[in-house]
Symmetry: C2
Subunit: 421 residues, 2 copies
């Protein structure tokens, strides 16, 4: 096996440490690196503070060949990353003509040329840095190569980071390093408690060859089994993975809803597209989360025709044709209302499939005094219908919405997979 | 000023390092700690590997009094945190009777008593640990106090972490440490480029007293100015903050849409509740994201009556009454269609306010060959209507949906704030 280049990430910013912002850059960069066979060894999240940044750079460069920093290179006083780089690499910041020109063009395009003087500091870079222009922001990306290591200084705004990494850094690293391949498969297992699953496949797991590793990633009630193979012969890795999965198959077969795929909405979209099925959603307590997941997948418009969020109960009656009597007799959080909602939704959007949710996300109860955490959902696939109840009083509002949305899509995939068996 | 207890967080798990899972536990724990005056100094994200965990623990305990670990204490073979704790604290794992009893009760409740033997390892804890039972999962929380430092070992599943931290760890820390107060205010500034804003308020910023710090947090086109004051006299801190904000006011007044508040949907909800206004949404290219943001706020049901996602253009005609002729003449991505959608939405849900979006999230164009990244949105407040166009070809699908949703809510807040002036 060739030597694998490894990476470490440094996320810079008090807004991450104080919990105001969730760091999504790290997971994006890690995914992109994984595709070209560079594993991330560690992520350091540090304050906008020169000392902390320098210490993290030292440690990151000790454990990895490639170090990324994100954040702290904006025009404001709380941005200290470039100074930390200059001190760390014993270099100075100088105005870069090309960057200054690029900055000027960007400000002209945004009709903000009058801000050139204020932004001038953005065009200062380390004298030894290779500069990569940032088409979507005023701070350029810098690459410093020293002692066989590479440090990459990126801005913190996710939509600036994504094209810089995807279009510029990844091709650069692919060329520079002798890279290993990483091949991954994610198997989705349902109705199988994690501890029992672990026990059941224990012998198989212990016999896995050294280059293949296994992780358990539970999400809601689905367990994602991730198999990762690392090596320099891609085809051999894929064959080995397929071989291992064949051996695993008898242990878990009846519980698998997808033999590869991470996000449930992507797994669903593939099935719907393959079978030319259309879908619509009627969401009360999930408030649009299911529709948002489905529409987050590119190409969904051939299968997803629309959704309705009849939040107020009168809208369930007026728009979806739920019977006022059903609501009166069973209350709005009931199997019967869920069923009438999915039926009304299927008719309204004229789709093969419809799903509905009605429940109480909390923390307060609804006007009918239903229990916080109770939810009914109905899934309709042509003439088939299935209603389920969940009781999730331990989840806070956002986790409740997330859990229910995941579960509805997971159950729908399970129904579609079984139907096709 | 009293000595401030500080914390460091260690996130354990290959799924985070490989980019498959976004770490949300850290931001939750950091927010909770901030409320009781404990700042987070650093976050270490490491692999499920005993050596890495021990190294991170050593460094974390060097820089902070309190160290949290999350993850790696499940029943499967990739979970190594407890062994790392035992080695680090030179202790051994022993079966804890109370934990075993708790585990048994949990499995009985879940009708999985037959799994008790397999899960028995979950009841093993460090002999010197104080054990806190986990009501929502099989792995307990351990607290180790040694040499004036505290290490807290938590599971990795967010809905298990939240109640453990919120209900058990925070009260424990509040009692144990002499805590400082942290008071925060977040001011939302719009239509003010970050570099110009920074220049404009530069003199004020440089004159801020030592106990107050300022951060710039841009989100979409809104800049959140976060002021943080740390000290032992809460009232004095609040007075000082108010005083500083009074001084800041003249520089930014016309650009401020909220003098405090982090999430735009929470800011909006306060305004709508105060004024007894109702709202509905008609989303095409945002696919439910706006409704999801609004319904994520507890208590929204008095103001949000419902939403529609007429994804397929026929649904815009059938359900919202958009004219087929408008679509034919202007295409579906046009100011006119956005306007007819918000009008139709306002009528359908009978609300004071409605918002609509129509655009192409990409990466592929729509059936009308509209430009990827183009979007029109319309905001209607009673008889007032405003349409805007954005062109965001540089954003990927999810960022596009997020950016547009943020912007629509931001513009709505701006309209409502100005209306009230």
């Amino acid at each position: 096996m060739k030597k694998v280049a490894t990476a470490a990430l440094i996320t810079i910013g008090d807004e991450i440490l104080s919990g105001i912002t969730v760091d999504t850059n790290s997971s994006f960069i890690a995914s992109e690196l994984k595709k070209i066979g560079i594993p991330v060894k560690q992520i350091f999240t540090v304050s906008d503070d020169i000392g902390s940044i320098k210490t993290a750079m030292k440690r990151a460069l000790d454990i990895a060949e490639i170090v990324f920093t994100t954040g702290g290179i904006g025009p404001t006083k709380d941005d200290k990353t470039k100074t930390a780089y200059a001190e760390f690499f014993q270099d100075k910041l100088t105005l870069d003509e090309e960057t200054f020109h690029h900055l000027k063009q960007l400000l002209i395009k945004r009709k903000r040329e009058h801000l050139l003087e204020i932004n001038k500091g953005q065009a200062e870079v380390l004298s030894k840095a290779k500069v990569i222009q940032n088409d979507n922001g005023t701070a350029p990306c810098m690459v410093i190569e020293e002692n066989g290591k590479t440090a990459i200084c990126l801005p913190g705004v996710p939509f600036e980071v994504k094209p810089l990494v995807g279009e510029k850094i990844i091709p650069f690293l692919t060329e520079k390093y002798q890279l290993n391949h990483i091949v991954t498969r994610i198997i989705s297992v349902v109705n199988f408690p994690e501890s029992l699953l672990s026990e059941t496949i224990s012998d198989w797991e212990l016999a896995l060859p050294e280059q293949i590793s296994l992780s358990y990633l539970p999400i809601g009630t689905r367990i994602k089994l991730r198999l990762t193979a690392v090596g320099n012969d891609k085809e051999a890795l894929e064959n080995e993975l397929n071989d291992q999965i064949s051996k695993l198959r008898p242990y878990i077969e009846g519980h698998v809803i997808a033999w590869d795929g991470n996000e449930i909405q992507v797994i669903l979209k593939e099935i719907l597209s393959d079978r030319n099925l259309t879908i619509s959603t009627a969401e009360s307590c999930t408030g649009g989360e299911i529709a948002k997941l489905i529409t987050g997948v590119s190409g969904c418009s051939t299968t997803f025709l629309g959704g309705i969020i009849p939040y107020d109960f009168h809208k369930k009656i007026e728009i979806l044709g739920v019977s006022p009597r059903t609501i009166e007799e069973k209350t709005v959080v009931s199997a019967e209302v869920a069923q009438e909602m999915s039926l009304g939704c299927q008719k309204l959007f004229k789709t093969d499939i419809s799903v509905s949710t009605t429940g109480v996300a909390g923390p307060n109860t609804d006007e009918f005094n239903n229990q916080v955490g109770e939810v009914f959902y109905s899934i309709r696939v042509k003439d088939f219908e299935q209603t389920n109840r969940l009781f999730l009083p331990h989840l806070d509002r956002k986790d409740f919405m997330f859990f229910v949305a995941q579960r509805v899509l997971q159950d729908l995939v399970e129904i579609l997979v079984k139907e096709n068996d």
